[in-house]
Point group: C2
Chain length 316, copies 2
C-alpha cells in the first residue's frame, strides 16, 4: 500500500489554486425528501458546477499545478465523459491542447461537451484496457502530460475542495454520502473530512452491479474490476491501490443499491429538487430512500456529482 | 388609473418580513447559452425557491403582513398552481387553514403540491369567472381572507424582493427580463428597479397566444383577457388596472414569443443549465435566443420563475 500522498494541506492549496475557475456550488434542501428518508438532507449541487460535474475541480487542479514547460505538449486523458470535458476545459484555460480517449459508445452529449471545450477526441473500444492503451500511445507519440481520471494526487486534492466548501456551508453535518467508482472523489473527501471533522461519518454508495469498492472494503483486499453495465456510467471505474488506501482508512461504510433504486432515486431528485442529475448522482439518495443506512434524523450531506444526461433518453 | 400603492420601501419591508421563510436563490450562468444569445446571461433560479416558484415570496408577504385576528378564519385564493401552493405554505407557517380554488384540469403535480402544504382544494371550471365566483363564495361562507394571485399590493411587494436580491447578486445588470401573465411579478420588479437602478432596462416577455399585456402596453389601453391555451400555464392571467399602471410606467418593452420557441427554449435551459424549469420560465430566454431584442453583448438578467412540471409529460 503506498503512503498517503494527499493531505489536508494539499486540498487547501488546491482550493486557492482553482478558486477562480470553479464555482462554489449551492446546497439545496427538500422537506419532502427529508420526510421520505427520515433525516435532514443537504444536497451539494456539483451538477451545477462548470462542465456539469465535480470533475472540473480535480482536472483544474492537476493542470494548474503544472508549469508551462510541463504542459508544452498539451495533456491527454481517458474518460467516459465528465473528466474528459473537465480536462479539455482546464487545458483551454491554460491555452494548451487536450486529447481525450473516449469509448466509441459514449453519449453524444458527452462527446459534444469535450469538443465544446476544444478537446480532440480519440475513440476506442469500451474497455479499460483499450482506453489505457490508446492514452499510452498518445503519450508516446506526443509527449503530452497524462492526467489520470482519479489515480492522481492532484486530481484527488482538487476533488477534496468540494468537502471544504460543503463543511463550511453546512457546519452541522453528521453524515456525508458520495457515490464511488474509481474512488478519486471519495478519497479527496475522506482526507478533508478526516482532517477537519473526523466525527462526520463518510459513507460511499455503489451500484450493486459494480461493487468492487464494496467488496474491497469488506475483505480488506483490493478486488479486481468487473465488467459492468450499470446505468450509473460515471461509476464503472475500479479503485486503484492509492484510492483504496484512503478509503479503507477513513470510510465509515460502503453500501450498495440496485439499478431500479437508482432510476427511481434519479426521478425523485428531478421532481422534487427541480434539478437535472445523472444516474451516478442519484446513488447515495437511493441508499437513504431505501433505508439502507440508519441515519435516524441526523444532518446528512449528499454529493450530487453531475448533471450530464441526454434529456431525450430518460430511463423512466 | 389607481395611484401606485407599492413603493421601494414596501419591498424592503417585505424583504425583512419574509427573509426567514424564503430562499436567497442562486444565479446560474452558461457560456454556451451566452454564445447562443450574444450576451452575458444571468439566470435567477426561482425554480429552486420553496414551493418551486417565486410565488412563495408574494404569498408569504401577504400572509405575514396580517395580524392573527385578520387570519382567524384562514385564507383563500384561486390559482392554477404555484400561487395556491405558496398560499397554502404561508398559511401553514402561520397555523391557519388555506382554501385554494383550482381549475379541474390542473396538473396532478400542482394539486399534490397544494395538498402537501395542507391546502384544502375546491375544484372549478377552468375559467377566470368560475375561479373568482368560487373564491367569492368561500369568502362569503367562511369569512376567510382572500389573497389575490397578483392584484394585491402585499403580493406585488413580495415578488419585488426577488429584484432586490438579483441586483445585489449581479450589480452589473443592464437588462432584466421576466415573463408576464397577470403582472404581479413584473410590477414588483419594476418598482424595485425603478427605485434602485432606473437605468436597467426592464423587459417583459409574453406568449404571443396570450398577448393582452403586449397589446395593452402598445395601445396604452388595458386590453380584456383572451382565452388562451399557451403551454406557459403560469402566464394565462390578464393584467389588472393596478399591475398595468406599474407596467406602462416602468417597462422598457414587452415582446412576444411563439409556442414552439417556448418549448425549444425550455429544452435548452434543461440541457445546458441542468435545472428543471416550467414553460413559463423559458419565455424570456426564448426572446433572446430568437434575437427579438437587441441586447448586444450586455449583461442580461433573466428570472426563471418556477420549476413545477410533470417530468413524465415533456413537450419535446
Amino acid at each position: 500500500m503506498p503512503r498517503p500522498d494527499v493531505t489536508l494541506q494539499d486540498i487547501r492549496a488546491a482550493q486557492a489554486r482553482i478558486g477562480k475557475c470553479v464555482l462554489r456550488t449551492p446546497v439545496l434542501e427538500s422537506a419532502l425528501l427529508n420526510a421520505v428518508c427520515g433525516a435532514r438532507l443537504y444536497f451539494k449541487c456539483e451538477n451545477l458546477q462548470h462542465t456539469g460535474a465535480f470533475k472540473a475541480r480535480g482536472a483544474s487542479n492537476a493542470v494548474l499545478a503544472r508549469s508551462a514547460s510541463e504542459l508544452q505538449a498539451g495533456v491527454v486523458t481517458h474518460s467516459s465523459g465528465n473528466h474528459g470535458a473537465a480536462v479539455a476545459r482546464a487545458a483551454q484555460l491554460r491555452g494548451v491542447p487536450a486529447r481525450v480517449v473516449m469509448p466509441h459508445n459514449s453519449s453524444a452529449a458527452k462527446l459534444a461537451a469535450v469538443r465544446a471545450y476544444g478537446g480532440q477526441i480519440t475513440l476506442c473500444a469500451p474497455t479499460l484496457a483499450a482506453r489505457e492503451a490508446a492514452a499510452a500511445q498518445i503519450v508516446a507519440d506526443t509527449h503530452a502530460l497524462f492526467i489520470h481520471p482519479y489515480d492522481d494526487p492532484d486530481v484527488i486534492a482538487g476533488q477534496g475542495t468540494l468537502a471544504l466548501e460543503f463543511l463550511e456551508q453546512i457546519p452541522q453535518l453528521q453524515w456525508l454520502l458520495c457515490p464511488i467508482g474509481g474512488g478519486g472523489l471519495a478519497s479527496g473527501i475522506a482526507v478533508a473530512v478526516h482532517g477537519l471533522r473526523p466525527e462526520v461519518r463518510l459513507v460511499a454508495v455503489e451500484p450493486a452491479s459494480a461493487d468492487d469498492a464494496f467488496r474491497s472494503f469488506e475483505t480488506g483486499v483490493l478486488a479486481p474490476p468487473v465488467p459492468t453495465h450499470t446505468i450509473a456510467d460515471g461509476l464503472r471505474g475500479a479503485l486503484s491501490a492509492r484510492t483504496f488506501g484512503f478509503i479503507r482508512q477513513h470510510l465509515h461504510a460502503i453500501v450498495t443499491v440496485d439499478e431500479q433504486a437508482i432510476v427511481q432515486a434519479m426521478r425523485e431528485l428531478w421532481q422534487h429538487l427541480r434539478i437535472i442529475v445523472e444516474p451516478s448522482s442519484a446513488v447515495p439518495y437511493a441508499a437513504l430512500a431505501g433505508r439502507k443506512l440508519d441515519v435516524d434524523d441526523a444532518h446528512v450531506g449528499i454529493v450530487l456529482t453531475g448533471g450530464n444526461v441526454d434529456i431525450d433518453e430518460l430511463p423512466w
